[in-house]
């Protein structure tokens, strides 16, 4: 599964994208955030304010309770500031 990071989430985790194998028991966006936040300090910092993190599955915005089944690309990023 491909994971993308943008803006300060990207800066804090220290990379823009990576491939991961989904650990057993991780079935939702929230579960994936828990898993990633446990990796190291940078990831923990990136996901510290959990409620502000936005997620997209296959380029569609989703809530944190969205299931990961069938997803090819998950993205995490701060609230958008375009326009």
């Amino acid at each position: 599964m491909r994971i993308l990071y943008f803006a300060w989430v990207r800066e804090r985790v220290g990379r823009g994208e990576e491939e991961i194998a989904l650990p057993e028991g991780v079935t939702t966006v929230a579960g994936l955030i828990d898993h990633l936040a446990g990796r190291d300090e940078g990831y923990a910092y990136a996901f510290a304010e959990r409620d502000t993190i936005r997620a997209a599955i296959d380029q569609e915005l989703v809530e944190h309770d969205a299931p990961l089944a069938g997803a090819r690309e998950i993205a995490f990023f701060p609230p958008m500031t375009g326009g």
Binding site: A56, A75, F77, P79, T81, G82, G83
Partner: protein
Amino acid sequence: MPARISVAVTDAPVDMAAEIAALGEGRADIGAVATFTGLCRDEGGTLNALRIEHYPGMAEAQIVKVAQDAAARWPLLAVRIVHRHGTIRPGETIVFVGTASAHRRAAFAAADFLMDYLKSRAPFWKKEIAADGTERDWVAAKADDEDALGRWS
């Protein structure tokens, strides 16, 4: 006739006059064109540039989706949206939204709606570059912008 929807995400400067001309090109049933242009301000001389990061692919898709939503709400003849990414200098265009309709109320409302949704739903993030070239922090999202979506529900 369905609205003609056209979207671009680009790192090149926006030619406003060309964009507006294209909205009405080759048709004489358009009575009203509303546009909005968001520009980079120099913040009293303290800002050298904005650097805009985006999510390629999703950015275009989300903008098209918002444009389709607008076309489903109002009788639009054409919608054109251009959003820049990369480095943008003060005075340059960040975003251009143009709507064409037979009548003015639809054109105005749709442009207003599009800007509200682009602000909070299109995956772009702004970072400020100070006059001395150093990076400032990421621009924070405004609660006002999220709240503005309530105007349309």
